[in-house]
């Protein structure tokens, strides 16, 4: 009987498998940094992990708080600045980059800026950060969606996927040929982009999920791969690694915050402080 896994663990492990050995990898905040650590430990020992803050070739020892977190590793090989981290991407030295998604449309264009009107938003999301620059020039981009949504039309167009589909991205002349999102990972499955139409389709579903479950979230008539597969069940070794390296990620953000505050207050109470 193999180990039980949490949904977060499944996502991290599936994400990590997108990193191949010897690749130069830009990791975004959250899930991707843990995926990067896992890949480096188990699948891709020669990958160069990079963050836009200028931390290049690091090996995380604990989960990262954010993309400028030099506290989570014991040194790193190259300390450069943000400007250079992006120009090296522009010049084609980044093989794969990982980005989180707020809204996504069928051609993999992204909104991470706002819900509702830009000038008077219902929700103000973080914004571009490095996303619009990275998805433009990384050789390929892996997208992760946890709290976000599929929409027909983005409330704000932050980052370019395949624009209007077909060869419109390549035709625009703004991006390196062949670049763009290669995969979208959600809590229900894995989507890829058709090589000609560039429309996203469901390629894989996670264990216990049905195609109808996935369709419920998608406002257009979602295409499903004729070779639809089920996401590989994580191995004990993979689960063990994630749980030991990043127990807080295994547990998930909201439960982790709840437990951490509880712990801190209890500690203070025991000492008669709070």
């Amino acid at each position: 009987m193999s180990k039980g896994y949490t949904l977060n663990e499944l996502l991290i492990i599936t994400c990590a498998k997108e990193i191949k050995d010897y690749q130069n990898v830009i990791l975004g905040v959250g899930l991707p940094t843990t995926a990067g650590a896992l890949a480096k430990a188990l699948f891709a020992p020669h990958a160069t992990l990079m963050m836009e803050s200028g931390i290049i070739d690091f090996e995380p020892l604990v989960p990262l708080n954010h993309i400028a977190d030099a506290h989570s590793c014991r040194g790193f090989s190259y300390a450069t600045d943000l400007f250079t981290a992006f120009t090296m991407t522009y010049r084609g030295f980044v093989d794969v980059c990982f980005l989180g998604v707020g809204q996504i449309d069928k051609f993999g264009n992204l909104n991470t800026t706002c819900i509702g009107d830009y000038y008077h938003p219902t929700l103000r999301l973080p914004g571009s950060g490095g996303a619009a620059d990275f998805i433009a020039y990384a050789k390929k981009t892996v997208l992760t969606l946890r709290g976000g949504q599929f929409v027909e039309k983005l409330d704000y167009f932050t980052s370019a996927g395949y624009l209007e589909g077909g060869d419109s991205r390549d035709q625009s002349g703004l991006f390196p040929k062949g670049s763009g999102p290669s995969m979208l990972l959600t809590t229900k499955g894995v989507f890829r982009f058709h090589p000609e139409t560039r429309e996203m389709y469901l390629a894989q579903i996670h264990p216990g999920v049905t195609v109808d479950d996935v369709r419920k979230d998608v406002p257009w008539d979602l295409k499903v791969s004729p070779d639809l597969t089920q996401t590989d069940r994580p191995t004990d070794e993979e689960i063990e690694f994630v749980r030991r390296f990043a127990p807080t990620e295994s547990v998930g953000r909201s439960l982790r915050t709840e437990l951490a505050i509880e712990n801190a207050l209890n500690r203070a109470k025991r000492r008669g402080k709070a």
């Binding site: 954010h66 600045d81 490095g130 000492r271």
Partner: protein, 348 residues
């Protein structure tokens, strides 16, 4: 010309002397180790009407927006406090219409600082955003947010952004000398560019070190003394964010702020207690210790992992060898003078 005297002063004096209402103000730090004590002091002095520049807003930007000091914000990233439930100060201010905002990508924002730092009036940036709303939707900068020109060499259309030279930069670093040579290491982000593009610079640091420490490690200096107006020594000056080699992020306390910041009334209470209710950083740390125990902070202190020293040494540091002879000619000073006299090369 420079003013390389002792520039050490309190945060209160630095903010009073070098920051004015209506300034273009830039937060030098990026995501990590932000200059919280300088920010709290700006709020305490009720400075206002800033155009605030921040590479990536964390609690620093949200605290200033909560305090009502910001009219305009130029950034690439806004802190969200509580997932879908509660945004934060920037979201509330946008909804209330009390701030105007301009959104850039990380690179394109940073490029404006780099242009300003090097004295250019504009700079070419990564053109991919021309397909996006970052290019199409303009805020208070209007046409000047981005302009497209024809490259005179290739004939291609290129995207540009204008340089920025903010009135004042506030920035926290690990160490500085009393003249203002500021040393910083870790995630370099856009920290140096933010400082160097600005007209005035206020540096806060974890410790002030002797000048010879800087001389021995110039590769860590990101801002030279001649550019700096004020040096403020503030241990724990970036708390609850982290400073490499000094302390980790205070997750518990940061979480408290984040939770409070989901609502205007709860964050006001937080600000009253931790910003306005503390006269300076020492009072803030005293309050923290009284409330939670100093042990909570001690747990965050960095262990040692020193960089391998770089050898700045040379074979010799004097033209004269141990016996007082010049190294290439092999003569003493007196012998050289004698030769010069013999050859008639000395004028009376």
């Amino acid at each position: 010309m420079n003013d390389n005297t002792n520039k050490v002063m309190s945060a209160r004096e630095a903010v009073r002397r070098f920051i004015q209402d209506g300034d273009e103000l830039i937060i030098g730090n990026y995501t990590v180790g932000t200059c919280t004590e300088l920010i709290y002091e700006i709020c305490r002095q009720n400075k206002k009407n800033f155009t605030l520049y921040s590479q990536s807003g964390i609690l620093d930007v949200d605290i200033m927006v909560n305090a009502g000091c910001v009219d305009r914000l130029v950034t690439t990233y806004v802190m969200r406090s509580g997932g879908k439930a509660g945004g934060g100060a920037v979201e509330r201010a946008l909804q209330a219409g009390t701030i105007e905002m301009e959104d850039y990508t990380n690179f394109n924002y940073n490029a404006r600082l780099v242009a300003g730092m090097h004295g250019m009036t504009f700079i070419q940036v990564l053109e991919g955003v021309m397909a996006t709303d970052l290019f199409r939707k303009r805020g208070f900068m209007g046409e000047d947010k981005y302009r497209v020109i024809k490259c005179p060499y290739t004939g291609k259309e290129i995207l540009t952004v204008p340089a920025v030279n903010p009135d004042v930069c506030i920035v926290h670093v690990q160490r500085a000398d009393k003249y203002g040579n500021a040393q910083y290491w870790g995630a370099l982000g856009s920290v140096a560019a933010a400082a160097l593009c600005s007209k005035r610079i206020i540096v806060s640091c974890e410790e002030i070190v002797e000048h010879d420490v800087v001389r021995q490690s110039p590769h860590f200096t990101i801002i030279p003394a001649f550019r700096v107006n004020a040096v403020v020594e503030v241990p724990w000056g970036a708390h609850p964010t982290e400073v490499l080699g000094h302390y980790n992020r205070d997750q518990f306390f940061y979480g408290m702020f984040t939770k409070a910041n989901t609502r205007a009334d709860t964050v006001k209470a937080w600000m009253d207690e931790w910003v306005y209710g503390c006269s300076d950083r020492e009072a803030y740390i005293d309050r923290y210790a009284a409330r939670f125990g100093m042990g909570m902070l001690d747990r965050l202190r960095a262990r040692s992992f020193y960089s391998a020293p770089a050898n700045y040494g040379a074979a010799f540091t004097s033209a004269w060898d141990e016996s007082g002879r010049e190294r290439s000619m092999g003569l003493t000073l007196e012998e050289i003078e004698q030769r010069l006299a013999e050859k008639g090369m000395l004028y009376e």
